[in-house]
Amino acid sequence: MKFANILGAAAIAVGSLVSGGAFAADINGAGASFPAPVYQAWAAGYKAKSGTGMNYQSIGSGGGQNQIVNRTVDFGASDAPMADDKLASNNLLQFPTVIGSVVAIVNLEGIESGQLKLSGPVLAEIYQGKITKWNDPKIAELNKGVKLPELAIVPVYRSDSSGTSFVFTSYLAAASADWKSNVGAATSVQWPTGAGAKGNEGIAGTVKNTKGAIGFVEYVYAAANKLTTTDLINKAGKAVKPTEAAFMAAASAADWKNAKNFAASMIDTAGETAWPIVSATYILLPKNPSNAAQSAEAIKFFDWAYGKEGDEIAEKLHYIALPDSVVEDVRKAWKAEVKADGKAVWTN
């Protein structure tokens, strides 16, 4: 499958030329589009402070995985964690950077953000075409006192395969056994009903244009564009609003200690105040870098990003920083696992 590699490598080569990557010390990364805004903001902040630039090509998680497997970049980025055996066979270290979440958005006359409550099983039935009207008893039961119209529900999903789809379908699979066995969770699935739109913008646009539409977008996008979001009933049976506090509650409720390769699931966690659709986004770094100096630069960059300045930048863009204990474990992993000639490339 040389074609994909050559294409990606060419894109990165051109990208680094354009962004003035003539300095050897510049770090090159590629992958997931969801964290791209924060990575680019970090790059700007880090360049101002250290003089070292970071070129990040937002080519999608699959592309990021391919690029790092071929070692054409210093680090790859992926929304969905890479499978354990694939990490091992390619000698890669995986660690999370920031936490993001997915929210449901609706277009219903007279309904504003936070007025409508939905649950995982109901969402799964809507996206399976089993609940087709907004005044369905199952939706009405969750929303006593809200006037629901007799209007067809138009489910909208991401047409391009994306980490967002992976997170959302993982949630539906966790909430509904029926969804799990009939549709499943992946970066793209065979959606049983509805229409697909490209990117967050596509979903937001389609939902805005279509009466009775429902869609899902990253919280970062919904917050920036003030979209009409719904509340969700979490595993504890409590209705929660999509707030940064609720995402953090999910992050701290996750079982980080027992997670292999930091792939802790934050989907449908048990916390009472936790938002149910939360996920981290990941970086993939070679454990046996061919260029130790370059690898050390990449680690220095993420070490800075985990710090106070990095957190502030992430917060401004509505991303959630990792819990401190997780960051400490990541730093330990860098020291213990990223080695050149038997020596750790980065020591704090």
């Binding site: 499958m1 999608g60 969770a185 699935v189 229409a195 646009g205």
Partner: protein
């Protein structure tokens, strides 16, 4: 244009009689020309070979039924091209059906009816339509055309035509705006300039003597058009339509925006669908190396290549037979 590209046998004698001799620079120049010519064949051959080789594992896995299987499920890794082949052909055919009469009208207006001062602006406008990047058509389609169709076109059609048996099946589903019909309409607009330009060329090549004779015996404008101009150029016109069809088959960005992107088979023109090109655009970034998904996507690319090749070959044959005959 086709005549010059194809070359005519009369020139060959001229070239051989002036065959360069003695100088060093000329053989080098001729060699470079040979290389440029062969390079096209080589590049095309390599693309076909690469797509086929890359997609071969998918073909081995699913067999020849990959061509018509309607499953596209990345979770269970069951892939088939049926929905996309259907969507590709249907959207392109809708585009041609819509663009063809419009092109006829514009081309005939430009060559026969339009007064001199109007001819240029309309001609330029048509050329500008061809110059608009497809992503712009996609955005315009998504933000302007889709909401209009969802609000004013689909609801009445669904209400009036939906209940009719058989025919009604074409007009079912929620008024999403995005779907096969919308994709076809946007594509029609995109291929319109190409078809029109070739029609104009064909109509201009009709000998004035023929038309004037027809007018002389009392034929109306419509009769001249129908009985003289169109029959004179009909084969070349069919070729022009085929070229338009070829372009519509491979259009990607604009279609991805407005087709609704559902890998499900549906009889309804309003239902969201997918084309080969839109599926590749949607799925390629997340298809990891060596995965069955990537192989299936490459196989899809190969199928699109073959379809386009057949359409283009047919159009060349039709155009050439007309010019030679």
């Amino acid at each position: 244009m086709d005549a010059t590209l194809g070359g005519s046998s009369a020139d060959t004698a001229l070239v051989t009689s002036h065959k360069p001799t003695g100088k060093i620079s000329d053989p080098i120049f001729v060699g470079l020309l040979w290389a440029s010519g062969i390079a096209v064949l080589l590049i095309l051959g390599l693309i076909i070979a690469m797509l086929f080789e890359g997609g071969l594992p998918a073909l081995r896995e699913f067999g020849i039924s990959f061509l018509w299987s309607t499953s596209w499920n990345p979770v269970t890794e069951k892939f088939g091209a049926g929905v996309m082949v259907f969507g590709t052909l249907l959207s392109a055919i809708i585009a041609v059906i819509v663009a063809l009469p419009l092109s006829f009208g514009i081309a005939f207006f430009l060559t026969e009816i339009a007064p001199g001062p109007l001819r240029r602006p309309i001609g330029v406008a048509i050329q500008l339509l061809a110059a608009v990047p497809s992503i712009i058509y996609g955005m315009w389609g998504f933000f302007v055309v889709v909401p209009l169709i969802a609000a004013y076109v689909q609801p009445p059609l669904i209400e009036w035509l939906g209940p009719i048996p058989v025919l009604g099946a074409l007009f079912q589903g929620p008024p999403l705006g995005a779907g096969m019909l919308t994709a076809g309409l946007i594509l029609a607009l995109m291929i319109l300039p190409f078809i029109t330009a070739m029609f104009v060329e064909v109509l201009e090549s009709v000998p004035p003597m023929l038309k004037e004779s027809a007018f002389g015996v009392g034929a109306t404008t419509f009769e001249v058009y129908r009985n003289v101009s169109v029959p004179y150029g009909n084969t070349a016109m069919v070729g022009a339509v085929m070229l338009g069809l070829g372009r519509a088959l491979g259009e990607t960005m604009a279609v991805t925006f407005v087709i609704g992107n559902a890998t499900r088979m549906s009889a309804s023109l309003f239902a969201p669908g997918a084309t080969i090109a839109s599926t590749i655009a949607n799925e390629f970034p997340e298809a990891s190396m060596g995965s069955l998904k990537l192989q299936s996507l490459l196989q899809l690319g190969f199928i699109l290549f073959v379809i386009s090749f057949i359409v283009l070959a047919l159009s060349r044959m039709l155009v050439r037979s007309k010019i030679k005959g």
